[in-house]
């Protein structure tokens, strides 16, 4: 059954949801739960990292293939297995369940899945933020305020939903002014071609695809909320504390990959190919992605008070949509630590932005 949908895979890959994985996942739970839990072992020398296909995470695939990750792992005397997972949400769930030590995800999904699930998580590497990659598109309308009263097709509770909330805020509308229709990203492009669908919120390369169609106008995109949709490598905080070498190896590898990527069109072309497009297509996606090629820039971004503000927006959005769990009394239920300060409950910090390892890379100490 699953095979049938793979045709869509190459086209739409970020933050993707599989069709039957939830059911299979649920029914496999008992089998999975029969596997004895690995008790926390302080120091280990073998680790697993997962990633999924998205413009800002393609470097992991390249780094694993080109042996860069292995090289850095060897340097610190550890093993790192890098696994690509086709289904984005599934990869986060696996990380949350403890199957992986680190995983690529957005700031919002990190808060609502592992952190809300009690897994203390740290943003080890801030790779990029969406700078136009996520957009709101209207059919036959040219201004955002025309969205009032419309049905809006998007992947509910994803960064698209967050973008919509922020956009509505900017024109003094609220979510109750529209009807959100949860729509699979795999079917977003074909959904747009039907007459029922008048507005969509989605991400690249789907945005580019939809904008090619008649009547489609981009009325809002993530460039208007720069730095709010952040793509990171999240790592289990406890694992990191007990195994600083893992953090060093990953950060070291990442910035070597970044250098290669920035310098070589061939490297970018191979990343584009791996994500189902070509160099031109990949560069177009990069154009609306603010990559932090230099570790120092990423450190500055994490240190900025803007990040604290952003995480407050994200936490408030997550709280009002029930993503922090039913037990959460307010948006600050889960504490979020950034260098500029802590948002929310300082006694319940479960999401951390820690520039330590990126700083080491910037200082050339790795």
């Amino acid at each position: 059954m699953y095979k049938l949908f793979s045709a869509h895979k190459t086209q739409t890959t970020r933050r993707q949801r599989g069709f039957f994985t939830p059911l299979i996942f649920s029914t496999c739970l008992l089998i999975l739960s029969a596997v004895p839990l690995g008790q926390a072992v302080a120091e280990r020398d073998s680790f697993r990292v997962c990633w999924s296909i998205y413009v800002g995470w393609m470097p992991w695939g390249y780094g694993a293939e080109a042996g860069i990750v292995n090289k850095w792992a060897d340097k610190y005397g550890i093993d790192i297995e890098v696994v690509q997972i086709n289904d984005y949400i599934e990869s986060i769930n696996q990380y949350t369940a403890g199957e992986f030590d680190a995983c690529t995800m957005t700031n919002m999904d990190a808060l609502t899945i592992p952190s809300a699930g009690g897994v203390d998580t740290t943003a080890l590497i801030v790779g990029d933020f969406s700078n136009g990659n996520d957009a709101i598109i209207l059919k036959d309308e040219t201004s955002l305020s025309a969205i009032k009263g419309q049905k809006v097709n998007l992947v509910e509770l994803s960064v698209s939903h967050y973008l919509l909330a922020r956009a509505l805020d900017s024109v003094s509308l609220a979510e109750k002014d529209v009807t959100v229709v949860n729509t699979s990203d795999a079917d977003m492009v074909s959904a747009y071609t039907t007459k029922d669908v008048t507005s969509v919120v989605t991400w690249n390369p789907l945005v580019a695809e939809i904008l090619k169609m008649p009547g489609a106008t981009k009325v809002f995109d993530s460039a208007s909320i720069p730095g709010e949709i952040i793509d990171t490598l999240m790592i289990n905080t406890q694992t990191l504390q007990e195994n600083p070498n893992l953090g060093k190896a990953l950060a070291g590898a990442w910035y070597e990959i970044m250098q290669n990527m920035q310098e070589s069109a061939d490297v970018r072309a191979s990343m584009g190919k791996a994500s189902g497009t070509d160099l031109a297509g990949y560069e177009m996606q990069l154009a609306s992605t603010h990559m932090y090629y230099a570790a120092g820039d990423a450190v500055d971004f994490v240190n900025s008070p803007d990040l604290l503000q952003t995480m407050q927006y994200v936490a408030e959005f997550s709280f009002t949509h029930g993503l922090l769990g039913e037990g959460a009394p307010d948006a600050g239920f889960i504490g979020i630590a950034t260098p500029a300060g802590i948002f929310g409950d300082a006694d319940n910090v479960l999401l951390r932005f820690d520039p330590t390892y990126m700083q080491m890379a910037a200082d050339g100490k790795l």
Binding site: S33, L37, A116, G117
Partner: protein, 273 residues
């Protein structure tokens, strides 16, 4: 007399049969409980294997308390939406399957005309032509029902066709010697005998119907059991997903039982063999 029976001859008593039947469920529950407790001991907020109390709290929130955002009782609304889609899809698919299966089975000319095309259509994986379905039927309720129809009616058609062909030629000849014309043979000999077999075919296709329903709800929806599961998966709310899965299983079981009951009440001659 104390000679022990061979195991192949040992029949459980009624009490033992029920006990044995329940045993694996009990074991599964205990294993779950144990594993859940173990995970909770390590991380009290673990979401992967929620405790039974967390699940019952989730059921309470979804079934017996109005949603904070919409004021609706989510479980019942989801159930009503899903069942409406499922039952209308199944009903229409059954009617289509009956009509085409009976017509192809009874009339060789119609068989020659339509069986090749029906066979070809039945081989198309419905999920692969979703974009076409959207363009033709839109993204609303219609396309969800249509997906179920397209998903299961070829199977029902084929099943009815085969079952019609199975009715002994002797009966058709006999009916003609009793003065029956084509239409009378269809309505008085074939249709009444096919009716219970249609219920059988529908029962066999229930599983696929659920699968297509959940797939349809995953694609674009604002409510439904499949919608909810896909939505809350976004934040790994297994405390909601697991009760929903159990509820879906229960509904599927009840539907199946109901169909057997209807068949037994309506067509006793078919079941007493």
């Amino acid at each position: 007399m104390s000679r022990s029976r061979r195991w192949i001859n040992a029949q459980p008593s009624m009490f033992l049969k029920i006990t044995l039947g329940l045993l694996p469920f009990l074991v599964l529950l205990l294993v779950y409980q144990y594993q859940s407790d173990a995970r909770k001991a390590e991380n009290p907020k673990d979401k992967l294997l929620p405790s039974f109390s967390e699940m019952s709290a989730a059921v309470d929130r979804h079934a017996f308390q109005p949603s904070k955002r919409t004021g609706q009782y989510l479980l019942w609304r989801d159930t009503a939406s899903s069942l409406t889609r499922l039952l209308s899809g199944i009903a229409i698919a059954a009617l289509l399957g009956l009509t085409f299966g009976l017509a192809t089975g009874a009339f060789p000319m119609f068989d020659a005309l339509s069986t090749p095309v029906i066979t070809a259509i039945s081989l198309i994986p419905p999920m692969a032509i979703l974009p076409i379905l959207f363009i033709v039927f839109g993204l609303g309720e219609l396309s969800k029902v249509v997906l179920i129809i397209i998903g299961i009616s070829p199977f029902i058609t084929r099943e009815i066709y085969l079952r019609t062909k199975e009715i002994p030629a002797e009966q058709l000849i006999k009916a003609q010697t009793l003065g029956g014309n084509s239409s009378q043979v269809v309505f008085r000999v074939l249709l009444p005998q096919i009716a219970p077999r249609l219920i059988g075919a529908v029962r066999l296709s229930l599983g696929s119907a659920w699968l297509f329903l959940i797939a349809a709800e995953a694609i674009a929806a604002t409510d439904g059991l499949g919608y909810r599961i896909f939505l809350v998966r976004r934040y790994l709310a297994m405390d909601v997903i697991l009760p929903y899965v159990v509820w879906i299983t229960f509904l599927a079981f009840v539907l199946d039982r109901l169909l057997i009951l209807i068949s037994q009440k309506s067509f006793p001659w078919y079941h007493d063999d």
